[in-house]
Symmetry: none
Subunit: 224 residues, 4 copies
């Protein structure tokens, strides 16, 4: 399967006519519906028919615009990753206050996962299939390099200031934050059963955020 650059879409030109505009609209509706359906039912469980129905379109259009189910999923995947990437890049961090910035990153990441269950669900599905689609996509590879982007300057400044320990690496910090935020969201339903707390409760979410901020900061600040 080959993938084309997301933005260089054949149905999108700046001077597009009504037909083209309509086409882009339909395509987007399908993509939105597909994201929702794949997030709820996974790739295998997601039904073409349900996607086209939720998009107020019909099956045939999915094949017209995306080729087949797998290509549609790939498109959903790329779009979903890209959204996350864009949101992350949009974070406005003041490197002068590394600890505050770090807290901001943690809070953003946690909130993003909570607010975008489809991102979490699709990532899980990808891992079920051993990143089969992700590893095929050029678009995704282009994003992947920048994934720890926010942390690097922040960490450097903190280390220069003597606030953060020298041993801390951006990669470990990134994975630590990801773990502590992602797990809560991705496993919230089984955790609710097992831990006996309601992980959908916002108060409990706030408490968790406070806790993991503390954990992360304790893991990076210099020893007293």
């Amino acid at each position: 399967m080959t993938t084309q650059p997301i933005s260089d879409d054949k149905t999108f030109t700046s001077t597009e006519g009504k037909r083209a505009q309509q086409a882009r609209k339909t395509k987007n509706k399908i993509l939105t519906a597909a994201t929702k359906v794949f997030a709820e039912d996974g790739f295998s469980g997601g039904r073409i028919e349900r996607i086209s129905r939720e998009a107020n379109s019909n099956d045939r259009m999915i094949y017209y615009y995306f080729g087949n189910k797998e290509a549609l999923f790939l498109n959903v995947l790329e779009t979903t990753y890209l959204e996350f990437y864009k949101a992350e890049k949009a974070l406005d961090l003041d490197t002068a206050s590394p600890i505050e910035s770090l807290k901001k990153v943690i809070a953003f990441t946690f909130r993003y996962y909570l607010d975008h269950p489809e991102f979490v669900a699709i990532l899980n599905d990808e891992n079920l299939h051993r990143a089969k689609h992700s590893s095929q996509s050029e678009n995704i590879k282009n994003i992947s390099g920048n994934i720890q982007g926010n942390l690097v300057p922040l960490l450097e400044m903190g280390q220069q200031n003597g606030v953060f320990r020298k041993e801390v690496t951006a990669k470990n910090l990134y994975l630590t934050i990801s773990s502590l935020t992602y797990f809560y969201c991705s496993n919230q339903y089984t955790l609710t059963v097992f831990v006996g707390k309601n992980f959908q409760d916002t108060a409990f979410q706030d408490e968790w955020l406070k806790h993991i901020s503390d954990v992360v900061i304790r893991s990076v600040i210099v020893d007293a």
Copy 2:
């Protein structure tokens, strides 16, 4: 759907004859195959036919012993949870050395996830379906209460000794450890793509274990 106590299986009696023995064997072979297949392909993607083939049995026996696909999955789920629970309980911890014990728990948890990808995969599938099966099962509810069992005495001892901070709760500690171990395993394939490291590499796994042990311990020890 109703579930029966796992151990009170109609095909298992201590004085069982050859027939009953054979039957139990067949049932177990199906369960093992089902665990594998559901772990690899999820509930929707898992095929009855493949399960029966891998079990060297035939489709019909699955319905004979388990009723239908969903009940089979529920059985797999319960068995998988129970295995984890038993392994956890079998951990021999010396509460006299809370830090060493804590490290043991972290290492055990991490290794268990690494060694049992089916547990991770099935948990993910359960969360995709909002713990639909887990919340229905009495067997699972029976386990759930004890899930933080190992940590409580360990934490208490550490706090009495003045090694751990008073504010630390078993629940937060449990979730912290789970996050830091689970995420690495569950998302290893997409992480490999995004972070550019091979998460299946044992050296990298060791490095991560060392890192998270450090993070967890820093999060619980008393401030200097």
Copy 3:
């Protein structure tokens, strides 16, 4: 398919031992259950498994005693016919009062159908399959000759007395009575929907019996 005389059953001897007695009991339980199940679901819809369950036996015994599903049905059919035949023969009619006797026959027939929905249901199923089984069975052929048995003497007496018209034939009288009684029972559920009356209501049943008695008698008595 061959059929054996019903009473000459291999499992029935007057000096039977305990085992044989038990066997006959099991066989009867199966037959009773089968009658019920076939009556409710038809031949195609009737499930072997449900029959054995309702008989507190197991599938295997059905094959042990009856051979296969079709032979079981044939047995049910024969038994059901025979029951009707025996009940009919047991009618004690006073040929001296032909009209009263005729009323008795009509009432008996109607009540029998009402009280034995399984007879009606199984007859319908037989007709669906063009009397496939009935025409194969020797036992049934033996019964068939006597089917109008009650009416012949009654009719003759009435004609001799000058109460009944000479043209009336036993066959027509038999079919007329059968029609007027059977249809009410066999079609009671659709009739309830279409006619808007509750055909299960005993008052309505009584009313109908009165009506058809009148119709039949008017059809046989001599013109004024």
Copy 4:
């Protein structure tokens, strides 16, 4: 299960194109084949595969147009009822000659049942299942009210003329005619075995019609 008005079919518009026309044809072919198969084998015994084969279509189209086997049966049921209803309404009766008209109704009814064994078979199947489908269908309820339509004016005229007895009710007359005509047809195969006459023989059918006309008329005319 919900039913839609039969005539308001999505595949039928007065200005339909070739495609829609073809679609309607396919749907009709399936319906015709289904009617035949269900009539021959009942609901349980009727096979989807046979229906699609006889319709020169494929299994999938049955689900495309009707949803499932039960809905298909419901459709067959409704159509079959409607056909009968339309034929009945089309009867051109001269109320001026009540007796002649009555004979016409009797003959029509008898002939209809003879000529439409599928109607009889499907009614029987419905009664086996206690009118499960009929009672669910709005379309059928709409028909049901008019079922004795032909008899009412005829009966009134006869009673005004002093030809028919005042006590006769349309409902009883309707049920009497139905009984005497339906039973002959519905039970013709077992009757052939039991009575020893060939109920498929047209001469015998004519004889029966003559007989029941006589019975019905004797049941309504004023006493001499």
